[in-house]
Point group: none
Chain length 199, copies 4
């Protein structure tokens, strides 16, 4: 993640006092702390401002909503390797990729993501940002793996990689959002078994 300022508004063009990076960092730090302490619903702009020792206006100046602050804070937290393993076979590629992607959702990260999905359903503008920033970038890695497999004939030409990605990630999101079944290694293995049948 090169540009660490996901959703900050466009900065003013030229003159005037510059953005205070100390405040910027303090806000993100406060947001992250509150997130883990009281959960997404408990995070408020006033709370962030108070903890960061910052005026509310300073937050509103740079982010359009509570969710945007949280999103930037989360991105910062998730150093976000996005590995793209290329082992030569679909099976091992998938196993590696999904294992890494799924287990990280067990703890706080999963809770934060759930909060952001919620926000995305309630705020159209945020949804756009969230999908671009989080969803599409994660999909890209998986699409790579599937395309390579298709070239190697490990995957039928009939199969639309985009749709298959929706199915794979969709299963993950389902279990994360609804909690009706665990997001574990066993699930990954089962899913790999299913996908490797599609040759």
């Amino acid at each position: 993640m090169k540009n660490n300022s996901i959703r900050s508004k466009a900065p003013a063009i030229s003159t005037g006092r510059r953005r205070n990076d100390r405040s910027h960092q303090a806000i993100l730090k406060a947001a992250m702390e509150l997130l883990t302490e009281v959960g997404y619903r408990g995070v408020t702009i006033e709370g962030i401002a108070a903890r960061a020792g910052v005026g509310k206006q300073t937050i509103y100046r740079w982010w359009p909503s509570r969710a945007a602050v949280v999103m930037e804070a989360s991105v910062r937290a998730a150093a976000d390797s996005a590995p793209d393993p290329d082992t030569g076979t679909l099976e091992t590629d998938l196993q590696k990729f999904l294992a890494g992607s799924f287990v990280s959702l067990q703890g706080t990260a999963g809770q934060v993501l759930r909060g952001m999905v919620a926000e995305a359903q309630l705020d159209a503008e945020f949804r756009t940002q969230f999908v671009e920033t989080f969803i599409m970038t994660r999909r890209a890695g998986l699409v790579q793996i599937l395309r390579r497999a298709r070239k190697r004939k490990e995957l039928s030409q009939d199969v639309d990689p985009e749709l298959l990605v929706d199915m794979i990630y969709g299963a993950k999101w389902s279990r994360l959002l609804f909690g009706h079944a665990p997001l574990d290694i066993h699930m990954v293995s089962q899913m790999v078994r299913i996908i490797t049948k599609l040759r």
Copy 2:
């Protein structure tokens, strides 16, 4: 849906005035109207009460949260056929089932569901109710179809039907929640093609 009061608290034990069904109906009607007019975020207890011509307490007496009211209202709206087609082949069963299930999400119904998913991420108790009421019942129909197909050897014994359901519905939820691709008939056909390969 026999009991039309999904989440209503336990009724009073013995004597005294009984629940006023007129108010009950007015509340659900008002909730549904507000939902379509101002969206889930704009629905408030005070708004429902005002529109229904009802005291706020009357709502709090019978439902634990805004989301619970909305959920009951939605269930009422979605007469909820849940067809369970049994045509003899996996392909046609799936095609019928999914087509019906997907297209209904294009309009208001989809928006309402998105709001409820959001709420489910923010309120643990509601999540439980929502998953039981909405998610598990929908899954059941699909699981039936897949189990029949497995018996007919149209589906490999290797494939865990539960996981496959997660993948199928997960793709639907992904597209509904993130909006990165359409939820249409073409998607259904493609998905059927993929699943029928898993024999």
Copy 3:
């Protein structure tokens, strides 16, 4: 002062929970205390609410502005005898009336009045209320005295009592508002001497 609720909005007509008099009193008390402690400029709705242990909305529900609260609190504080002495001669009537009216402005009461005059210049609606409640009622007593004197031929028929009241009270207001000269007994005596010349 019969009706102790000078500027309270019209109460709701019939149903619903009634106004809580404890809160009403606590608000007026808090306002008065803050007034003497930090001065008119330092009185804020938030401050009153916090000190009274009351929600801000409860204040906004019953008074249209900070000034209105302060005015009601002041009226309450100023038990406001409004003596109307009738000694038989203009000179002694005036001396008594004005002495009582002027010395009371030396302390906090004067400061509070100054704050209300300020507010009256900045808020048209408040000005109307203030003038009706404070200004006109005070004038009435003095007008009585002058009219009696006119009947007794102690005051020329040429002299417009209303205008003379403006001059007498105007001198008081001038010195209160601008502070260029003291509001004391000597001033009262001098003024009585001037007025008794107008026979």
Copy 4:
């Protein structure tokens, strides 16, 4: 009014760029415009700065408060003849003097003065400046007229001219601030009639 900068702080001592008179003028102009457009309460430092195309600091550098800017702007607007008529008789002197002084308060000038009186009640430092600049200078002319009349025996030696000025101007301020009666020519005539009785 020689020095048109009533309340400007001491200018910079020696080196460096000198005060920019263009900005000075623009600030006063903007202040006056805002005053007439939105009223005293609506005038803000930020508003003046924005309209004048000037940094806020530039205003704070030269004036101590919003009220000081407005006062200087007003002084500038009121070219302020202050005539001091000397016709030979108290009656005509007074008539001329007061007529000129009263009618000018009918329009915007009166509103502006009311705003400044308000500010003077809320800010002690401003009150001092305001009284020195506005109140005392206006009183001076009237005191002159009364002193001359006293010498000519048109006014009793008993009458304290300072107090009489308070009564005359006080009547004016009363009607301006409280609006309970008009500030017109008729009032002037009536008042002249009263004062000329004091011989």
